[in-house]
Symmetry: C2
């Protein structure tokens, strides 16, 4: 993005308001047999827009300084952030530019997951269960497969202490 | 809203971002036989939210200093502004706190309608047709009943000059 567009740099408070309406904080927990614990934690921040508004995704990406813009579905595109180091910056951004709707609750839970991942807690059973329980409280509260799996359904002594 | 909430007064740029995602500018043209021209122009600004976010509608209303919060449909509530004098303030607000998505195009057309109404142009046939044509370009471009009505479908000499 050139110098001209820098002059139109989006206000960070505008981004916060836009994300309150259009953004999504999500934590996926996927079964992957090659991993030690067999489950992978995949936190993600995304904003989905109709292709007519792809420029706004580019402008937000420019302010963040990271993220990938990719096709979502049909006429929709998304700005997506998945790297842990970038998600830490997302957490920092929304601590400084506070969300105002109930999306703030999702954000708080999301931050807890990022915090646990910073401490590599997703790599042990106790931490993984904790993350699954937090992600269960987020969004539309669909029970993560991890918490429904026959392999993980019986709480271990470790997880009982959480 | 008390002093405590005043401290949490929303940032105007946040409101602009939120409205880019969640707001709606709309111009209805309704048939009302008792009126001189038989058609009433009803411009409206609204933000619809799930009831869990009704507080945010109250906070936005507080910053604006006007508007009505009322039930929309099911679990949804809306903050609605319909008075011409208040809609003029809405136009002023979004001139100072610029929208960034394609909603800005709707807003520009909406401002044109408000401007015409300030000049009482909606009270003559030529102005009414102009407003109908502008409103046709807005939102999802559903042809207003005014432009489809057998009473108004043949352009008058006056409207040909627009």
């Amino acid at each position: 993005m050139g110098a001209d567009n820098q002059q139109e740099r989006l206000d960070t408070k505008w981004i916060s308001g836009f994300v309150d309406g259009e953004g999504c904080f999500h934590v996926g927990i996927h079964k992957i047999s090659k991993m030690t614990l067999k489950w992978q934690v995949l936190p993600e921040f995304r904003i989905v827009q109709h292709k007519k508004n792809i420029k706004i995704l580019e402008k937000i990406k420019y302010v963040f300084g990271f993220g990938i813009i990719t096709k979502n579905h049909g006429d929709r595109y998304e700005l997506r952030v998945r790297k842990l180091q970038d998600l830490n910056k997302i957490v920092e951004f929304f601590k400084n530019n506070s969300l105002q709707t109930t999306k703030k609750d999702d954000f708080k839970l999301f931050s807890q997951v990022i915090n646990l991942m910073n401490k590599k807690e997703h790599l042990n059973k106790r931490g993984l269960r904790k993350i699954a329980e937090i992600s269960y409280k987020m969004n539309r509260q669909i029970k993560p497969k991890y918490l429904k799996s026959s392999e993980t359904i019986r709480p271990t002594y470790e997880s009982m202490k959480i």
